[in-house]
Amino acid sequence: MTGDVKGAAVPAVNHHPALIMRVKQIFAAHKFLWIFLPAVLMALIFFFIPIFSLLRISFYENVGMGVYQPAMRLDGYIKFLTDPFYLRVIFFTLKIAVLVTSISLVAGYPVAYYVARAEGAKKIICLLLIIVPLWTNLIVRIYGWFVILGQKGMLNTLLLNIGFIDQPLSMIFQPLSVVIGLLDMVFPWVLLIMISVMEGIDWSLIEAARDLGASRFQSFYEVTFKLSIPGFAVGGLFAFVWSMGEYAVPSLLGSSAQRTISIEVADQILTVLNWPFGASIAFTLFMISVSVLFISNRLTQKSADYMLR
């Protein structure tokens, strides 16, 4: 849908007469295309133009103190992808994102399965329990974790009081607290995505499998599990991309020694005032997310084929 319109609207900027003619013809022939115009304008102004200028700045030369001049340099990219300091940042970010993604998928699957098969009031209550936390502001939730995980937080007090530990554990400003904070953020969404995919599974298929000689486990694996792979793919992609790019959670709940890519971007642009380098990092992050999207798309192409009905 957007493919059509994007192809039509973007070349118009080039002022190529033949193309403009063609676009005019297309719009004359398919009047309904006009209804996509607001969406296309939104995407153009708030997404494509900023990304494009980011890409342009990432090749520029840094003069210092927030000043840069047009150039065609790969310095920023080379530095970010070869310097051991930044490689550690990339690796740490990937590690956190993979961890958050795996935990939310593994822990989310049984919950999603249960909610997808629940009926009536039970289902509504379950969905409310998932959705209600999303009504709370993210920053408020992050500070909630300070209260729970802090040196004198609820968890440490509890463990000290029951004599389980005799020194408070440092649970905050750790990779652990970053993972917990990210899970808090992405888990409800991953659940909702997986539930919606699993609700689409026809449960009579399980009966058919059992009837044909599949055991309880085999029928689960052959039918339920294989048909929920699209849910895994979309939910996992969502968790991964969001964890990779998230800024607030790692900067508030993480330690300053273990930085993520988005913290590095903010630092370069807001503190160091090196716009070209910050743009290079940001664009690299963007490309990582796009490639993950692309790979996951390719992997689930088969399921997309049979889902087309």
């Binding site: 009966e207 009837d211 044909l212 000689g213 052959e222 294989k226 889902m307 087309l308």
Partner: protein, 366 residues
């Protein structure tokens, strides 16, 4: 026939089979024996318990009481995967993520058959249902009729002792349904598999069955060949459900050997030929099929078994003509097949004589 011979001949036995869902009695004390190679139909309106009965044979539903025996062995508590049955589901329940060949191979794969055997059996089965060449398609790429064939092949490939079909044709259009009837019947006879077919479509049952079990409110109403069920229904329900029937309520006026005379509530008398010498209740209904009524403009010579009515409307149906005729307070449906001795050129509001032969009158308890 002694008891032992009986049990070895029957592939399926249902003894006092009962299923209760919360407050409703879905299946109520069903007793049935299904012979080897038989094509048996469970026929009834929706909610009569026919599908639940089928699901209890297949092990997809546990009976509240009673016993299911397959090949003489009680299988209560045996899960579906361990029963020698295979089901074709109403909406076919094909695995959307598996190709046609993978769908058909599924049962054999679960039974851990060697690969070459699976490939050969799948090929043979697809050939039997005329689907060769579509092995690599996904269910979403098939037409309704093709999906139906895949579902049939998937069930047959495991060579079940009993094949269970749950309204498999109801989602197809009429033409395809009629064609599939013949094909399923042909395949069933070719491989001689004991088959239970659930349907609410009486024409389907009449056309395909060796034996029909008519079910009503969880109970068996009548068991018999299609011919028996159609011509000798034992109850008003069966008579009404199978084909079309006009009912004339009345009281028994006289009994003359194997015939009775019924005084109709709307006036007039009908002599009816009984098929047996069983006693007849006083309050009865006389059932008459629409095609058994002959219309006359003038009083026929016989004088007996003639009722007077008024034509309400005439509908041209192609091979037949349908009449709605007012008789007393009720409306009678008459189907005129035409032919010699039948009058034509009827119009509405015309007075008419309805002639009904005694052998066409079916006396049923009211």
């Amino acid at each position: 026939m002694d008891k032992r011979a009986c049990t070895t001949m029957n592939d399926v036995e249902l003894i006092g089979l009962t299923k209760r869902f919360k407050d409703t009695l879905a299946v109520d004390d069903v007793n049935l024996e299904i012979r080897h190679g038989e094509f048996l139909f469970l026929l009834g309106p929706s909610g009569c318990g026919k599908t639940t009965t089928l699901r209890m044979i297949g092990g997809l539903e546990a009976p509240s009481a009673g016993t299911v025996k397959i090949k003489g062995r009680a299988v209560n508590g045996v899960p579906p995967e361990k029963r020698d049955t295979a089901t074709v589901f109403q909406r076919w329940a094909l695995f959307p993520h598996k190709t046609v060949a993978e769908n058909v191979a599924f049962g054999l794969k679960m039974k851990k058959k060697p690969r070459q055997d699976i490939a050969r059996q799948v090929r043979e089965c697809l050939e039997m249902v005329d689907l060769t060449g579509l092995e690599k398609r996904y269910p979403a790429q098939l037409s309704g009729g093709q999906k139906q064939r895949v579902a049939l092949a998937r069930a047959l490939v495991v060579e079940p002792a009993v094949l269970l079909l749950d309204e498999p044709l109801s989602a197809l259009d009429l033409k395809l349904r009629q064609q599939m009837r013949f094909e399923i019947k042909r395949i069933q006879k070719d491989i001689n598999v004991t088959t239970v077919f659930v349907t609410h479509d009486q024409t389907e049952a009449l056309a395909m069955a060796d034996r029909i079990v008519v079910m009503h409110k969880g109970r068996i109403e009548q068991i018999g060949s299609p011919h028996e069920i159609y011509f000798n229904p034992v109850s008003r329900f069966t008579s009404d459900f199978i084909g079309e029937t006009n009912f004339f309520p009345g009281r028994l006026a006289a009994r003359e050997g194997d015939a009775v005379v019924v005084a109709l509530a709307d006036g007039g008398r009908l002599r009816a030929q009984l098929t047996d010498n069983a006693p007849c209740p006083t309050d009865v209904v006389v059932g008459v099929r629409p095609e058994q009524i002959i219309l006359h403009r003038h009083a026929p010579a016989a004088g007996e078994n003639v009722l007077r009515g008024k034509v309400l409307d005439v509908t041209f149906m192609g091979s037949t003509q349908r009449f709605h005729v007012a008789f007393g307070d009720r409306m009678i449906v008459v189907e005129d097949v035409g032919g010699a001795g039948r009058e034509s050129g009827w119009h509405s509001a015309e007075d008419v004589y309805l002639e009904i032969q005694p052998h066409a009158c079916l006396v049923l308890p009211a």
